[in-house]
C-alpha cells in the first residue's frame, strides 16, 4: 500500500523550487524522487538550506509556490512512497 509522506520545511524563509532563477526546477510534480534528492531550497538570513527527500517515491504535489514566504514547520510537498 502506498503511503503518503508530507515534506516539511524545518526553517522559515523564502521557498525556491529552482537552484537559480535561470535554471529548471529541482523536481517536477509527478516525478520520482530518491532519498537524499534535493526537492527545494529555503533562504533565510542569507543562508540557503536544501530540503531533501527522506523517502523514495513520487513527488505528488507542492503546496507552496516558488518564492513564497514559509513558516517553520510548514508543509511544502507530499511524496507517495513506493
Amino acid at each position: 500500500m502506498a503511503e503518503q509522506k508530507t515534506v516539511l520545511s524545518p526553517i522559515p524563509g523564502v521557498f525556491y523550487r529552482k537552484p537559480a532563477p535561470d535554471k529548471d526546477v529541482y523536481v517536477k510534480e509527478g516525478n520520482t524522487v530518491k532519498t537524499g534528492d534535493v526537492l527545494a531550497m529555503v533562504e533565510v538570513m542569507k543562508n540557503f538550506y536544501e530540503i531533501k527527500a527522506e523517502t523514495d517515491g513520487v513527488l505528488a504535489q507542492f503546496f507552496v509556490e516558488d518564492e513564497d514566504l514559509l513558516d517553520a514547520g510548514q508543509e511544502i510537498a507530499v511524496i507517495i512512497e513506493q
Binding site: P10, I11, P12, G13, M45, K46, D71, A72, G73
Partner: protein, 332 residues
Amino acid sequence: MIKVINPGLQTTIQDYGRIGFYEVGMPPSGAMDKYSYRASNLLVGNDENAAVLEITYMGPVLEFQQDVTVAIAGGEIPPKINDQYVPMWETLEVKAGDVLSFDFVKQGARVYLAVAGGIEVPLIMESRSTYTLCGIGGFEGRPLQAEDHLKIGNANQSKIAIGTRISDELIPVFSKTNEIRVVVGLCSYRLTEESKKRFFSIDWTVTTEANRVGYRFKGERLNFVEREQPFGAGSNPSNVVDLGYPIGSIQVPDGVEPIALLNDAVTGGGYATICTIISTDLDKMAQIKTNEKVRFVAVDINEALEARKLYKDKINQMKKQVLGQIGGINHG
C-alpha cells in the same frame, strides 16, 4: 571537548556581550535572548557571563567527548540525546560518546546550550562573543562548522544536581504574533503624525532579513515631514547628520521597511531613528521568526523601567529556584 558533526543553520558562541566599546563602533554582540541564556548558565552552575552556544532555527549535531552537565533553554527546538527526547530548562547529564541533536523548531527562534564550565575560546575585548562581521570572538570569529572541536572551560561556580529545573511559570511562551514595547523618541520628529500613528496600528511582518544584526519588517510605507535637509545630512528625507544608534532602535530607510537594530548591528549612521525597543523586549524580539507578526506598542520611560524591574524579579526567582535546589533536590 565537543565535536561538531553538523553545525546547524547558524550556531555561534556567545556570552553576555562585549560591553563598553560602543564608542569605537564595536557592537555588544552576545546572547540575543538574555533570559534564556541566563537560565541555561544557571542550570549548569556557570558564571553569569560564561560562553554558551546560541542556536538559530535549526539545531546542530554534537558529539560529546567527555562527561559533562548541560542545560538547554530558549525557543522550543526539541533536544535529543542519542535520539531520545530530553527536557529543556533542566539540568541534564551527558556521557562521553553521547550525541546531542535537535528536532524541528516548534516555537521561538533561538535556543541556548550551556555546558558546565562554559565554552572556552579566547577573550577578545573582554568577551567570548562571536561577531561575524569583523570575524572576531567565538570560534575563529565565525559560526560553527562541521569538524570543529570545542573546548570546555572552568567557568562553573557551583554543582547543580541533575534534574534541577526551572518551574513552568518562569518559562516564557513564544507566539507567532507579538507585541514589542518601544519608547518613542530620538528622531521621531521626522515622521509625519499620520505615519507615527500607522507605525503603531498595523501588524508588521518579519522578512527573511532577520538575524543577529537586525530585523527588517514589511508593512506599509511611512512618510517623513518635508523639510530642507540640514547641512551634512544627505538628501533623502529619512537622512539625518550621522549619529549614534541605540541597541534596539528602529529606523525606516527611505520610509520603506523599518529595521530594528540588534546585538551585532551598526553603532551609528545617517538614518533617522524613531523609537527604541525596551531592553526586556529585546529577548522577545530574538525569539521571533521570519514571517511572524509584530505589533509595536508605545510605552513611556517609567513603564520601561517597571518592566525592567519585573524582569529582574523573574531572574531572581529563577536563581532562587535553581540554587535553592542544590541542597533540596531529594525532598520529593
